[in-house]
């Protein structure tokens, strides 16, 4: 394949990665934006989503489509429940103190990861795609399911945007983000909003995990890369800025996809990590963000 088609393939791969990253990073960004909490276990919610998807779909081995549909509903709900539990038992009790919360979520990361290791095992397991068709381009065939992922992710992003911008619940969430004290004075149950946001963030990551699992097998360590990429996305896009997060997700998803096809992924990651650290040092509100202190 010559360069042009190769690039096109890389862009397609990058687009899939970008949409999935957008979902995952959005979850992290919401949690940070509203609760001012950095959830280091966010990648594990992604991983749980994928692993539970495997578990659910293996209950209905005859019909991959049905299994996948069930997974798409059940898995995020279950992960949301886990997140709620973590919030109630741990984060709320710490009063969301920044440093203590990070340490606690690191603990949560290990707990979730190792529990999955114990019950699911160290092996990567595939999940059949609900639909398998190939789209035939002039230079290569491309998995139709990946295009479905793009469509589904786009739909979910739109739905989340609608939820946040056009519904009362979304208004309540944005009010709490903007000024917690005033929100409380207006009778908004801030603690419940926080629980809700934390669960929503986890569910977004879980859905991303479900969508990706037919493409990339479910494995107990699969949460670490999405975590790093989401971090990079949220920091570069600007802590607290949803628009910035989305823009950054596309930039990073696309470039990660393209770079990984042409260059060493390890080198790409090194550069990305250093870049993020430097952005955080020299431009603390990210490249686009307007973080409220």
């Amino acid at each position: 394949m010559s360069f042009g088609p190769h690039l096109f393939l890389a862009l397609l791969e990058g687009t899939v990665a970008a949409f999935v990253l957008a979902l995952t990073a959005l979850g992290l960004s919401l949690v940070f934006g509203v609760m001012r909490v950095v959830n280091v276990a966010h990648g594990e919610f992604f991983m749980l989503g994928a692993v539970l998807a495997w578990a659910v779909s293996s209950l209905v081995p005859a019909s991959p489509a049905l299994g996948f549909l069930l997974a798409l509903i059940a898995s995020p709900l279950a992960v949301g429940a886990v997140a709620l539990l973590a919030d109630r038992l741990v984060l709320r009790r710490l009063h969301y103190a920044p440093e203590a919360t990070i340490v606690a979520t690191i603990g949560l990361l290990y707990i979730l990861q190792q529990l999955v290791l114990t019950f699911y095992g160290p092996y990567a397991r595939p999940v059949a795609a609900p639909i398998s068709f190939r789209v035939q381009f002039p230079w290569f065939g491309y998995s139709g399911y990946k295009l479905v992922v793009i469509a589904a992710a786009a739909a979910l992003l739109a739905a989340t945007w609608y939820l946040l911008m056009r519904t009362r619940i979304g208004l309540v969430m944005r009010a709490t983000q903007y000024d917690r004290e005033t929100a409380q004075a207006f009778g908004i149950p801030v603690e419940r909003v926080y629980s809700g946001i934390f669960a929503l963030g986890a569910m977004l990551a879980a859905v991303a995990g479900v969508l990706i699992v037919p493409i990339q097998q479910a494995h107990y360590l699969m949460g670490l890369d999405p975590l790093l990429l989401s971090f990079i996305t949220v920091i570069i896009g600007g802590l607290g800025s949803l628009r910035g997060t989305l823009v950054a997700a596309f930039v990073i998803g696309l470039s990660d996809g393209v770079i990984s096809v042409f260059f060493s992924p390890t080198l790409a990651k090194i550069i990305a990590t250093l870049f993020v650290a430097l952005v955080l040092v020299f431009r603390p509100s990210g490249l686009f963000g307007s973080a409220r202190a």
């Binding site: 710490l94 203590a100 190792q114 790093l228 390890t266 955080l280 040092v281």
Partner: protein, 319 residues
């Protein structure tokens, strides 16, 4: 003399004496474990300097430990340098890296500092993988036994001998412990604690707090590098795992458990956690679950740690 210094000094010397005596009664397996624990506890002492005394929570100390590990290991392996020079090189590597990272990272604080140190450490970890031609990446390499002998005049040190290993590890730990004890009682130590308690006020008392934080990080880096170098030279294995996030989280855990901001806390935390993980590993490969649970429980219920609680409840003179 500062009140309580006599008692505290006696306590520290007693602990070292007990550790020295233990080598004659410990069965083989525990004898080897203790040597390891003492080196790792030195790493924890270095970490505590930054967290417990200066109040800076770093999530990237693995890169400093690894700087010492690889600094000594690569030099001995590829440049045929002797063990003692390798050790010094390891310390200098940790110190240098800490200074470079500190000049950039110390412009941030709190959560941002945690993330920045995490990112730098990740980059360092990935670098050990990227240059796997030299470092052998994940697989790592072992130092040949010949490299682990050292002679000064008539004295001959064989680092493969368990007795030598134990005593060198104890020497390292003792030096780090007493250095941290001295620092903590010194005027500089007082400034570090002040920075932890109320940095703006410390600035307004005429202290260039950035410089002090950098010094603390440099000292922490030197100690962590020394521990890493010792680990390579005494236990012969050098690998990427030691640069991974796990080795940044472990000292945090050891220090939290033993007591943040206490000189002896790191030893207790390392000792307990080592045996806890050791025991659990006998039953399952998911021993990191214990690490996770411990972190959550400590932060939620027991933030002062063991010696921290003892100090608060019964012994305010404990440094």
């Amino acid at each position: 003399m500062r009140s309580g210094t006599g008692r505290a000094l006696l306590l520290h010397l007693a602990v070292l004496a007990v550790l020295f005596g233990l080598q004659f009664v410990l069965p083989d397996y525990h004898h080897r474990s203790f040597a390891r624990i003492l080196v790792l506890a030195s790493y924890a002492v270095g970490y505590n300097l930054l967290l417990g005394y200066t109040g800076l929570l770093s999530l990237g100390h693995a890169m400093l430990f690894a700087a010492g590990l690889y600094g000594a290991g690569l030099a001995v392996q590829h440049l045929a340098i002797d063990a003692a020079s390798g050790f010094v090189l390891g310390i200098l590597s940790g110190l240098a890296l800490a200074l470079v990272v500190g000049l950039v990272a110390l412009r941030t604080s709190g959560v941002a500092f945690m993330i920045v140190t995490l990112m730098f450490s990740q980059a360092a970890f990935l670098t050990t993988l990227y240059f796997s031609a030299v470092t052998r990446g994940d697989e790592g390499f072992t130092l040949p036994a010949a490299a682990r002998q050292y002679a000064i005049g008539d004295l001959f040190f064989d680092l493969t001998d368990p007795g030598t290993r134990y005593n060198l590890a104890l020497l390292l730990f003792g030096a780090c412990l007493m250095a941290s004890f001295a620092l903590v009682r010194s005027p500089m130590g007082r400034v570090l604690v002040a920075i932890r308690e109320n940095e703006p006020r410390t600035v307004m008392l005429g202290y260039h707090t950035f410089r002090y934080k950098l010094l603390a990080l440099a000292a922490s880096g030197a100690i962590s590098g020394a521990a890493g170098a010792a680990y390579a030279l005494l236990f012969s294995y050098v690998g990427s795992t030691f640069a991974s996030i796990q080795y940044s989280i472990l000292p945090l855990l050891w220090v939290l458990l033993g007591g943040v901001g206490t000189t002896l806390g790191p030893l207790i935390g390392t000792l307990l956690m080592f045996y806890l993980i050791d025991t659990i590993s006998g039953y399952t490969s998911a021993y990191l679950l214990v690490v996770g649970l411990a972190l959550v429980l400590l932060v939620l219920l027991f933030p002062k740690g063991i010696l921290g609680t003892v100090r608060a409840k019964a012994a305010p003179w404990l440094p």
